[in-house]
């Protein structure tokens, strides 16, 4: 009993400390303040134009789709959650320039955002035009001498770091790029048709190397060997693995934008959450009495833990994420309902209070475990497959399930046992029972 009461007090103190942390860091705009998504707080709006001039009309849609996915992956990789990446086409009839809109929530440093997106490599393989000089009179690169092969970063599957065979000091790091099946076919065709000619590899419009094709290459991989240091090669591999651009893009404009939903949505979400919480608590206390009070305590601790996690991870809160959190409050109380109902049955069977509590938890555990595992399966799959918006929701939902399982089983049980209710007293019996009848 002493140990239980000791732990109960410790849990309360820890919860109070967490609550203090949540309260003090809110509204400070510091590292631990809540991060709000694009719909609630606004951010940066970037417009890029895509240069599709070299593509046949059949390739355009496909390449633009790849472009959108590459940029979304890149933006996600630098920790901005729930960005909006959208293709647009100018002109009311959809005949104009193809553009890409990127909106980054909470990002106020536009230059930094532009720089990070700008690191997306543009990888191109080109052939040299017959008879053309590859350098102009001043020794500079003559772009007109190079002909597109159609093989670009669009067909890139993975990139890996390789070291040459020489002595350690001489070993030159190179980058092995592997194409997807479509790219491999194209590469085999290009190399097969042009044996003996140089194939120029361009990265971000800079000539990296132009090795001569020795034979047709079927394996679907190529080696890029520039004069890289190990660090440069590593950075290139990382950048290529996040995706290479299928078409060149140019930054057209940057703007800071306001929230699509704004303060009133945030406020409405808060009001809904608080009212939902209060009514839920009243329902639990009136219906389940003492176990209900304990459940509400556990629920408060659950909410504090979730809010602290939002700040620590950090989780970017959008309207969907907030809805997920409000939903999880309803779910978190589920386990407590199951436990309280079981407890009532065990008491009705004539067990002592402490035994009934232990037995009630043990019996309810199977159903709680099974349904929570089903939830976690769903949350993991949503997180794995979803893009930005769904990921945010799945993260909040999955965290909620795990934290609520902890709070329902451990915290409620410790509190209930620590209270040391004696089933002999009529008041205690009343408090432990639930429902409308005594």
């Amino acid at each position: 009993m002493f140990a239980l009461r000791y732990w109960s007090v410790m849990i309360l103190i820890a919860a109070a400390a967490l609550a203090f942390f949540v309260w003090r860091t809110t509204g400070t705009d510091g590292r631990f303040d809540f991060k709000l998504g694009l719909d609630l707080s606004g951010g940066t709006h970037l417009v890029y134009s895509a240069d599709t001039g070299k593509l046949s009309s059949a390739q355009i849609a496909d390449s633009l789709q790849t472009l959108r996915e590459v940029i979304e992956r890149r933006v996600n990789s630098f920790g901005v959650s729930e960005p909006l990446v959208q293709l647009e086409q100018g002109g009311a009839l959809g005949q104009g320039t193809h553009r890409l809109i990127v909106e980054l929530p909470g990002v106020t440093d536009v230059d930094e955002a532009v720089r990070l997106i700008g690191q997306t490599p543009l990888l191109e393989f080109k052939l040299i035009k017959e008879g053309a000089s590859t350098t102009d009179a001043a020794g500079n690169l003559n772009p007109a001498a190079y002909v597109d092969t159609g093989l670009t970063g669009k067909y890139l599957s993975t990139a890996a770091l390789q070291f040459g065979n020489g002595q350690a000091a001489l070993a030159q790091p190179t980058v092995l790029v592997t194409f997807n099946s479509e790219g491999a076919k194209l590469f085999a065709k290009i190399t097969g048709d042009n044996v003996g000619k140089p194939l120029a590899i361009f990265l971000d419009n800079q000539l990296v190397s132009a090795p001569t094709i020795q034979e047709k290459i079927d394996g679907g991989s190529a080696v890029i060997s520039g004069n890289y240091s190990a660090d440069e090669a590593k950075a290139l591999v990382r950048n290529l693995n996040l995706g290479a651009l299928p078409v060149p893009i140019n930054l057209e404009s940057t703007q800071t934008i306001g929230a699509t939903l704004g303060d009133e949505a945030l406020h409405a979400g808060l009001v809904a959450g608080i009212f939902g919480f209060v009514v839920l608590s009243l329902f639990m206390i009136f219906w389940y009495r003492l176990p209900g009070v304990v459940a509400v305590m556990a629920l408060i601790i659950y909410s504090i833990m979730m809010l602290a996690l939002f700040k620590l991870i950090p989780v970017v809160l959008t309207a969907a994420g907030m809805a997920g959190f409000i939903l999880s409050i309803g779910l978190a109380v589920d386990a407590n309902v199951l436990i309280a109902e079981r407890l009532k049955e065990e008491l009705a069977a004539g067990k002592k209070a402490e035994d009934a509590i232990r037995e009630g938890f043990a019996r309810a555990w199977l159903a709680i475990r099974d349904s929570n595992i089903a939830h976690i399966i769903a949350a993991v799959i949503l997180f794995w497959f979803g893009t930005a918006l769904i990921k945010g929701f799945a993260l909040v939902f999955g965290l909620g399930v795990i934290v609520s399982m902890l709070s329902a089983i451990t915290i409620s049980r410790t509190f209930l046992l620590a209270l040391g209710v004696n089933e002999q007293k009529p008041l205690s019996r009343f408090l432990l029972r639930s429902g409308l009848r005594k």
Binding site: D39, Q65, L87, E88, L261, G324, I326, A367, G386, I390
Partner: protein
């Protein structure tokens, strides 16, 4: 209750609602929103100071153009995203915004969907995976249940789950027809969530059936399977309703008091939860009984 005598009546409610949902979806279909279908983007500038955003939202939503998303940009402009507009619709939108007197157009372009083809195919994969893994998991979790075979629990749970997402989808088709509700990213999230949580009540009932079967075995007592199911439903009905109640309470608050943008989300989830609650009693349990009876004939 008495499931053994009245089993035919059990299927009336889920059966009827499923048929209505299928009719609604078949008749009116689902309206894709700008998240899925793309649309147009209009950027306007008010050199003499822009009007309040609430006013712009109110005025534009009254035009009957479906959802118009208004977003402030810079110091004096707004970006509006909506479905593709006809020339007449664009003119009426421009007039509403005060063009050409106080506002000027910065750009008008067509935009692609923010949920690409990629996400849609991923959503289908995700749904299929949830379904398959849930069958596997329930079959595993109920492997010790003495009868019927644990695969039946898994498959019945999935039939129930499909019913639970069919009902809100049907409602959405009806809403789309009546008030022009559009399918957006949140609707997909809502359906996926129902997939995740409506299985709760089914598991609670199944868990009781499993336990009662085990107790019967221990006591060497013979009881018809339909009676075990009947008894299990009676023992769990209070908690089934209460666990769903707790979720529905918060969802109703989200619907009535929450942001407008999540209202349809909350409604879809509420309907899915209600469907999930009655379907575990009126669909999952009797299906198990019918299947068990059938395989013994």
């Amino acid at each position: 209750m008495n499931i053994s005598k009245n089993i035919g009546y059990y299927f009336i409610l889920p059966g009827l609602l499923s048929i209505l949902a299928v009719i609604a979806i078949g008749l009116w279909g689902l309206k894709p929103g700008i998240d899925l279908a793309g649309g147009s983007l209009l950027e306007v500038k008010y050199p003499a100071g822009r009007p309040a955003i609430e006013l712009v939202r109110e005025k534009t939503s009254a035009l009957g153009l479906g959802e118009v998303r208004v977003q402030p940009t810079g110091e004096e402009g707004y970006i509006l995203r909506q479905r593709n507009l006809t020339v007449a619709e664009k003119e009426s939108l421009e007039a509403t915004l005060g063009m050409p007197q106080t506002a000027e157009e910065v750009q008008f372009t067509s935009i692609g969907p923010s949920i690409g083809q990629e996400l849609m195919s991923k959503a289908w994969i995700a749904i299929s995976l949830v379904v398959i893994l849930t069958i596997l998991f329930i079959a595993f979790a109920f492997r010790h249940a003495s009868k019927p075979s644990s695969w039946k629990y898994g498959i019945v749970a999935i039939v129930t789950l499909l019913h639970d997402i069919l009902i809100p989808t049907g409602l959405f088709a009806l809403l789309g027809h009546m008030i022009g509700a559009e399918v957006d990213a949140l609707f997909i999230v809502a359906l996926l969530t129902i997939l995740g949580i409506s299985i709760n009540d089914t598991i609670v009932v199944f868990d009781r059936i499993r336990e009662n079967l085990r107790l019967n075995d221990e006591k060497r007592k013979h009881e018809e399977f339909s009676e075990v199911v009947d008894r299990s439903i009676r023992q769990t009905i209070a908690r089934s309703i209460n666990t769903s109640m707790t979720v529905i309470i918060v969802l109703l608050f989200l619907y009535f008091l929450g942001p407008e943008s999540t209202a349809n989300f909350a409604l879809t989830l509420t309907v899915g939860m209600i469907a999930g609650t009655y379907s575990s009693i009126f669909l999952a349990a009797p299906l198990l009984v019918v299947w068990e009876k059938f395989s013994h004939k």
